[in-house]
């Protein structure tokens, strides 16, 4: 278990590394299926969701904005796609945290919703600005479907270990 104050300091670095790692996981999966199914890994989103329960909103918004700009620069070369999506998702996570009771099931749906939004907004922004065109028979069955499946699987496998490592048991149980 990592202490809360430490967690805050390592958050930017951790998320940054996870974003890079996600790209590699995505690449490996696409090449395993001969590029027929593209499943985008979103480990970083999962961690972001867990961290959002203990780190304050303003800090995480800033972090996600900076990371979004870096992501845009490195992977696309056009600033303003992921620099919009990441802060939006962070806002959404805090909105859910405020309005819905947090348990494993709502977290699960939060993941599903945020992954779907992530893909949809990125596609929407890019097609609005003419950076890409997309065939509709590609998007849902070969892209969104596998992506959701992969992220549901990673959620099921990793949610408990990640929670344990990143936040640990509630503080009152520890007697702090």
């Amino acid at each position: 278990m990592i202490r809360r104050t430490t967690l805050k300091y390592i958050t930017p670095g951790l998320l940054f590394l996870l974003f890079l790692l996600d790209a590699h996981v995505t690449r490996i999966i696409a090449s395993l299926t001969d590029n027929v199914y593209v499943a985008n890994a979103h480990l970083a989103l999962l961690v972001l969701m867990i961290i959002s329960r203990v780190v304050n909103e303003r800090f995480l918004l800033g972090t996600s904005l900076v990371l979004g700009i870096l992501y845009d620069l490195y992977y696309i070369g056009v600033i303003g796609i992921y620099a919009v999506i990441f802060p939006l998702l962070v806002m959404l996570l805090y909105f859910f945290k405020k309005t819905i009771q947090q348990n494993i099931l709502t977290l699960f749906f939060t993941v599903v919703i945020s992954v779907t939004l992530f893909e949809l907004i990125s596609l929407l922004l890019q097609s609005v600005f003419g950076l890409t065109g997309v065939s509709s028979d590609f998007f849902v069955p070969r892209y969104l479907g596998p992506t959701l499946l992969l992220n549901i699987l990673t959620f099921v496998i990793l949610i408990f270990p990640l929670e344990k490592v990143l936040i640990g048991p509630p503080e009152e149980e520890l007697g702090i």
Partner: protein, 286 residues
């Protein structure tokens, strides 16, 4: 309850939207126009690419190990096969050498220094692939300090895969032929049929069939399945005679006026670990 002031929120949202639209438009226009990046962008990209390389080092090492084991297993079969081919190889090699010398001497005679087919190569490792599926971009570890420039053709071992999109000091972005970017530069192609060559432009990719589509084909030649497609070198960015693929089918386009040629690329467009960046020698871009 927090006080809710709709006017203020609307104004904030509007400002954010304006900023986003402005940055996206400016940077996208910049990317399309000028492939060299500014210092900040270049420094950021190079730094991230170094971190990325460190992350992938264990994976690279592992896959290298797996590769060498599978190479070892295949060696015997391969050796048998190669032995049967090597007999003819020497003869062909000598022939090619003689022909190359002859071409050289003829070029000297004509005082031709660089023709459309002459080029230089830069070999680069792929660091990562953009996780954004709509962009189809590779990030490679060679940049302007290694002689890479914008719009150069990029090959994998077997054939053409894309072009250089953005150049930083020590890394660059390669856009694959599979991408559907409306502002990207299209490759001029040459289709060698039995009777002669026809020319066209590579401009689309069929995701379902995994085939490239060339259009604006010159009329007159009878293009058949299996004809070889290469770059023509006419556009000014790529040298001539880089292999692209073979013709799968020819069909009229949606207007019925022009023909569209479907091409099965030699190179696969996923899982690429090493690329060759081709620098055209004759009549550089500008």
């Amino acid at each position: 309850m927090r006080k809710f002031n709709p006017n203020k929120n609307i104004i904030i949202i509007l400002i954010v939207v304006i900023i986003v639209v402005a940055t996206v438009s400016i940077t996208a226009a910049n990317r399309a126009k000028d492939s060299d990046t500014n210092i900040v962008q270049s420094a950021v990209n190079d730094t991230i690419s170094v971190v990325d390389k460190v992350i992938t080092a264990p994976g690279r090492w592992l896959s290298g190990g797996v590769q060498s084991v599978s190479n070892l297993i295949n060696t015997y079969d391969e050796n048998q096969k190669l032995k049967s081919e090597v007999d003819q190889y020497d003869e062909v090699k000598q022939q090619t050498k003689n022909q190359a010398q002859e071409i050289e001497s003829l070029k000297d005679e004509l005082e031709l220094n660089q023709t459309l087919t002459s080029y230089e190569k830069v070999t680069a490792n792929v660091i990562t692939r953009s996780p954004d599926t709509w962009q189809d971009m590779l990030i490679v570890d060679k940049g302007s300090s290694d002689g890479v420039e914008g719009n150069m053709a990029v090959m994998s071992q077997k054939g053409l895969i894309g072009r250089v999109m953005e150049v930083n000091a020590h890394s660059s972005k390669v856009q694959l032929l599979t991408s559907d970017n409306k502002s990207s530069n299209h490759f001029p192609v040459k289709i060698s049929s039995a009777k002669g060559n026809s020319f066209g432009v590579l401009n689309k990719y069929d995701v379902k069939e995994q085939q490239l589509i060339a259009s604006e084909i010159t009329e007159g030649q009878d293009i058949k399945e299996g004809d070889v497609v290469q770059t023509s070198g006419l556009g000014g960015n790529s040298p001539a005679d880089l292999a692209i693929g073979t013709v799968v089918k020819v069909k009229p386009d949606s207007n019925g006026l022009n023909q569209e040629v479907y091409i099965k690329p030699y190179a696969q467009m996923y899982d690429i670990s090493v690329v060759t960046i081709i620098q055209r020698m004759a009549g550089a871009t500008e």
